[in-house]
Amino acid sequence: MQFWIVQTLNSLSLGGLLFLLASGFSLIFGLMRLANLTHGAFFMVGAYFGAVALRTFDGLNFWVAAVGSGILVAAIGGLFERLVLRRLTTNPLGQVLVTLGMSFIIADACLVTWGGDPIPVPTPSYLQAPTRVFGFAFPTYRLVVVVCALVVAFALYLMLEYTRIGAMIRAGVDDRQMARAIGIPVSKLFTGVFCLGAGIAGAGGVLGGPVLSAYPGLDADMLPLALIVVILGGVGSLLGAFVGSFIIGFIYTFGTALFPDLAYIILFLPMIIVIAFRPRGLFGRLST
């Protein structure tokens, strides 16, 4: 019994972490039709910003570090979109290659700046003690990650469904040409959404930090997970990213616990099945 409860909580916390990673990726993919392969690097550089800030400034609030780091990464994302991606709008393949190249550049810059050793992101002290759930210990911070994911999901939902900008983004996702034709400033919208996506990834890096730490290679570890979640859930769909994250969280956790020999393929099986039988993903409105 304990096994099932603890692993369920584990699945939820991994799902929350994946949502923080994948929601930005999904937003960008949905609006800009751009598989932003820099996303893992944004996540990593966010984790580094947070880890270094918390190490350098004693007493810095963890949540301030997360938000600040998100803003910094959003700014980097905005510059990248304006200065580089913008020039390649008519060349989707070029865009993908440039984002991949950019991820290498960011990864190497991190290595040069912060060296090859892992840097821990400290868990806020009031969340360090394990919580007792039905008589056994579970790390409190992991539960908080789930709450963070829910908060971000809810905020994004409100923005997309109930604000003017959200309506514009939805219009852009559904029909970019028509949105432009009726006067929606698609160009500014692109930059804004790219910043937002990068920013969520950057803040997610800090929020995931107490579990993952900041280390070289974090980007490459995370990017495939973002791709899997988005392909499973469906591109451009917030609900898809949300459900996809938790499905992957459950599959990965129970898969590695119950069938350890399948640890390497367990993540890719659901993705292959979805691509084969439902190419647009579970909730996608677009065909991948």
Partner: protein, 415 residues
């Protein structure tokens, strides 16, 4: 400031011209230069270790004013990026373009295996760091010696120590899912079970596991958990292990790379009291390490660990061999024979090689303590002259298949 494209291109090409592999210029006086190649992964996931390797080598040469056995040294360091194919290309560059007399490195077993054939074919004396068991057991290479340890070599004494002195009865092993982790766990299990202990669970998370939560939650009730991890993985695993409140229930012990000095400096009090085993500790008190460790700490502001020490020890071994042949390098075979026959006191203690090219040297049981504000691996027990075959008969040992996930079979797993 506006940077025109042309200045940018100029800047980049200037940087490109100045950076690659400019050998430390040799002193004008002295005999013919001795050319040493160092293969180190300075970028990519193994970068931390590779950078330490280069730093230790530079320190070693600086202390000797770039002269060994009366000859000036030309050191060329090339970056393998931790990729086997790149290691092969760079080894070729060192041997054919730089015409090195001797090669040190590379760091990872898969890199070493990628260059093994080439090293033999080009007859280049190689002092390796990679731990793959069979490189000095069932597939020995006459041009390769290893001054550090095989994957399992340091796990043997720890297994005996915890079984006999700490009376642990049940242990869970957790190791990275690649040959190094498999071999280390297998060696640990063999000696631990031969001393009456039981390995009740073996977990092998993938090298790039994003989250150890699902593994930590499975750990069964035992006396201790053995960590056979490398790089940042042990560090990340341990943090999650503590998060789950398990540190009060199970003791933590680890292999030679689990709580390396390079990882310790980013840890806190949670690491205190953990036992690990290695052929080195920055705390070792011997004449060579009394020079090396403080010098390294002074120069780079942190303690040397596994990778820094490995290169330094390789360099000391090479120095002793070169001295014994008076720096005569026309005959590569003579250098190799000298290496095989050597007995030298290094930063890790006395080093000699068995006839398979692997080191016979001391292993240390170390405990994490706090000293002058930083965490260190204090030596609590020394096992002298540990061989890669431990106390087993060599011929019998070599009849078995190489250690793996399934050999020796685990007979005491609990379900």
């Amino acid at each position: 400031m506006a940077i025109s494209r042309r200045t940018f291109v100029k800047g980049v090409s200037a940087a490109a011209l100045s950076s690659p592999a400019s050998p430390l210029l040799a002193n004008a006086q002295g005999g013919d230069p001795i050319r040493i190649g160092l293969l180190a992964a300075k970028t990519g996931p193994l970068a931390s270790g590779g950078i330490d390797m280069e730093r230790a080598m530079q320190l070693f040469l600086r202390d000797r004013a770039n002269m060994i056995a009366g000859h000036p040294i030309e050191l060329t360091t090339l970056d393998t990026a931790g990729v086997p194919a790149t290691a092969r290309t760079k080894a070729q560059e060192l041997i054919e373009k730089n015409k090195i007399h001797c090669l040190i490195g590379p760091l990872a077993a898969f890199e070493a295996l990628a260059i093994a054939d080439y090293v033999t074919q080009s007859q280049t004396p190689t002092i390796g760091v990679a731990a793959a068991e069979d490189m000095t057991q069932r597939q020995i290479n006459p041009w390769f010696v290893r001054a550090t340890a095989t994957s399992a070599q340091c796990a043997y004494p720890l297994a005996e120590y915890v079984a006999k002195e700490l009376k642990y009865g049940k242990i869970v092993t957790v190791a990275d899912d690649f040959a190094y982790g498999h071999e280390m766990c297998a060696g640990f299990q063999r000696v631990f079970e031969d001393n009456g202990g039981k390995i009740i669970q073996k977990l092998f998370p993938p090298l790039t596991a994003p989250d150890y939560g699902s593994y930590v939650a499975q750990i069964k009730n035992a006396d201790a958990i053995f960590l056979g991890t490398a790089g940042s993985n042990g560090f990340r695993f341990l943090r999650q292990f503590i998060e789950y409140g398990l540190k009060d229930k199970l003791a933590v012990i680890g292999g030679m790379t689990a709580l390396d000095e390079s990882v310790l400096r980013n840890m806190g009090d949670e690491a205190l009291g953990i036992l690990t085993t290695s052929w080195y500790s920055a705390e070792l008190d011997n004449p060579s390490n009394r020079i090396f460790a403080p010098a390294f700490r002074k120069e780079y502001k942190y303690d040397p660990g596994y990778y820094a020490a490995s290169t330094y020890v390789c360099a000391e071994v090479l120095e002793a061999a070169l001295k014994s042949i008076n720096g005569k390098l026309d005959d590569k075979k003579a250098l190799m024979d000298a290496l095989h026959g050597i007995k030298v006191d290094t930063a890790r203690g006395p080093v000699a090689f068995d006839d398979h090219g692997d080191v016979v040297g001391d292993c240390y049981i170390r405990k994490v303590t706090r000293k002058e504000g930083r965490l260190v691996n204090s030596v609590i027990k020394t096992y002298p002259n540990v061989s890669q075959f431990w106390t087993y008969d060599k011929a019998e040992f070599l009849k078995n298949p190489v250690y793996s996930r399934d050999f020796p079979p685990a007979r005491n797993l609990e379900n």
